[in-house]
């Protein structure tokens, strides 16, 4: 664990990423305390520019809502959607990939056809179709994102399991009388974990991007303030009040960037063999 942390810290970008993410998490957690009022509430006259009033740091939007409050509440939504949809996607992708890789043969064929199907169809369009079919609520946004983002997990896990399965220690475990479930959970998954963790951190980032895109198109939960919605709402006034789009966009950029940097740091820390120079 100490080694892990030392290797992680060697990557400066990863430390910056961790710092930014910690800040975003803090803002998200403290949002209800800092801005107890609903972010939808009109607090001042519309189009107040940033830094023009002390208590409204980032000004107001087209209907006089506090931009800073929207940003803080949006942070919570972005992180929630990113995290939960990734967990759901892992819950779909890991078992599918692990079974495909471990049992091989027909099981593998069937599961991979299924995965390929989901990977081939344009994921963003599928998410749109799903949200257009069912009512856009936070739950459905999360489910839709999870449904379009699990295939890479399944493929990665399958690949890892396939290569681990032929390793001799797995054969030895079989001969030691361990059952399939024990072998998968005790010997295979722990060894496949590092790449899955790295992928998961990147998936949270992608899910945040996806959520913001969907909200931007008006497919988000209409009752929840999110960064993508803020940009979408400010689109019509982009020529005059460009900062109303700029500010939430920067928030997305920084959060996603932080997660990507963390992903790289985790990669360095968890796969030390790859970063070291070849023999």
């Amino acid at each position: 664990m100490r080694d892990f942390w030392k290797r992680y810290c060697r990557n400066r970008g990863a430390l910056i990423g961790l710092l930014i993410l910690t800040l975003v998490i803090l803002i998200a957690i403290l949002a209800p305390l800092l801005f107890p009022q609903s972010p939808w509430k009109m607090v001042q006259r519309p189009f107040l520019p940033p830094f023009s009033q002390g208590d409204l740091l980032l000004g107001t939007d087209a209907v006089g809502r506090d931009v800073m409050a929207g940003l803080a509440h949006g942070a919570y939504v972005s992180l929630l959607v990113g995290l939960v949809s990734t967990i759901v996607a892992l819950a779909i992708g890991v078992p599918i990939g692990a079974s495909a890789g471990y049992f091989a043969g027909r099981v593998d064929d069937a599961l991979m056809r299924f995965t390929e199907f989901f990977q081939t169809i344009p994921s963003f369009a599928l998410a749109i179709v799903l949200l257009a079919t069912f009512q856009p609520s936070l739950t459905f946004v999360i489910i839709a994102i999870a449904i379009v983002s699990w295939p890479p997990v399944a493929r990665l896990v399958r690949g890892e399991v396939l290569s681990l399965r032929t390793r001799e220690f797995i054969e030895a475990a079989t001969l030691s009388g361990l059952g399939n479930l024990q072998i998968i959970t005790r010997h295979i998954l722990p060894n496949a974990l590092p790449p899955i963790i790295v992928l998961a951190s990147l998936m949270v980032a992608q899910a945040i991007l996806l959520e913001s895109s969907l909200s931007f198109l008006g497919l988000g939960d209409p009752n929840i303030m999110s960064w993508g919605y803020m940009i979408g709402a400010a689109r019509t006034v982009i020529r005059e009040q460009w900062w109303l789009s700029f500010i939430p966009g920067m928030a997305i950029l920084l959060t996603v960037l932080a997660l990507n940097l963390i992903g790289e740091g985790l990669n360095d820390a968890l796969n030390p063999r790859l970063t070291r120079k070849s023999k």
């Binding site: 390929e116 199907f117 990977q119 081939t120 169809i121 344009p122 994921s123 963003f124 369009a125 599928l126 749109i128 179709v129 799903l130 257009a132 079919t133 069912f134 009512q135 980032a205 991007l209 913001s212 895109s213 931007f216 198109l217 008006g218 497919l219 993508g228 940009i231 689109r235 982009i238 020529r239 460009w242 789009s245 700029f246 966009g249 997305i252 950029l253 996603v256 960037l257 997660l259 990507n260 940097l261 070849s278």
Partner: protein
Amino acid sequence: MTRFILGRLVKSVFILLAILILNFFLIHAAPGDPAAVMAGEAGAADEKFLADLRAQFGLDQPLYVQLWIYLKGAVQLDLGFSFRQQMPVADLIWNRLPATLLLTGAAFVLSLVLGVIAGVAASARQGTWGDTVISTLALLFYATPLFWVALMAVVVFSVWLGWLPGFGFETIGAGYTGFARALDIGRHLILPATTLGLFFMAIYTRMTRASMLEVSRLDFVKTARAKGLRHGVIQRRHVLRNALLPVITLAGLQAGQVFGGAVLTETVFAWPGIGRLMFEAINQRDYNVILGVFFVSAAMVLLFNLITDVIYVFVDPRIRLTE
């Protein structure tokens, strides 16, 4: 090799069929009367139209009969009728498809060419400031929401600097023809194609860089050095060709994403393609159009995949000669 391509074609047909079946079940899974769903949720459709729909799709008949009717129609490229636009969905899409193909095609080529060049340049300068700059930019563009880049591009290059048109396919009412029209469309294309391409360029840059570095460590590169070949020749002939294989695979996988990006880009730039059509349909709850665009975009993606497969086969003799 023909066998490989044929196999892929058959697979594509199956995927399209599966998407149609998925569409069919989505119509039935949506809350409310399927006829009303197909007509659009706004309740704008009149009773007669709904009755026609029910008769046409046999909505009073068992589910499998309905599925059969639906599939038969779709195979004949009947994707339903848009009550909102008073036009068959297939016609709507057909009119808008060329603009989307132009945009996605341009963005795809741009991102692949520039991405590979940037990736090669970064790997050649591994560890220097040049590498750091390219890698950092790639990381930034990878982390930026596409629609936001598009909006900012409009603000900077169209509103502030006034260099390029910020929306539309061509100058309306200018009446350009021939080369002048092509030039006009080209000017309109620059911003959307670049913003759409940037995200993918970032991906290809990162992939190419990593792949070049990895291939450089392989044994045959050492053999090439032992032959006394110059560094440039080794990089070009031995490293690059092998490093491109995973990039081509990735490009095929990304084809679907390019279309997703097109929905956002076309929305921001008012580009009259099927992505914009989908956005309009979302706002108007024009469900048939949404499903139609979904189906056609999947077909487009399969076409892109097929093209990358063919390229792959030509680059890698192992597939060409064994399958």
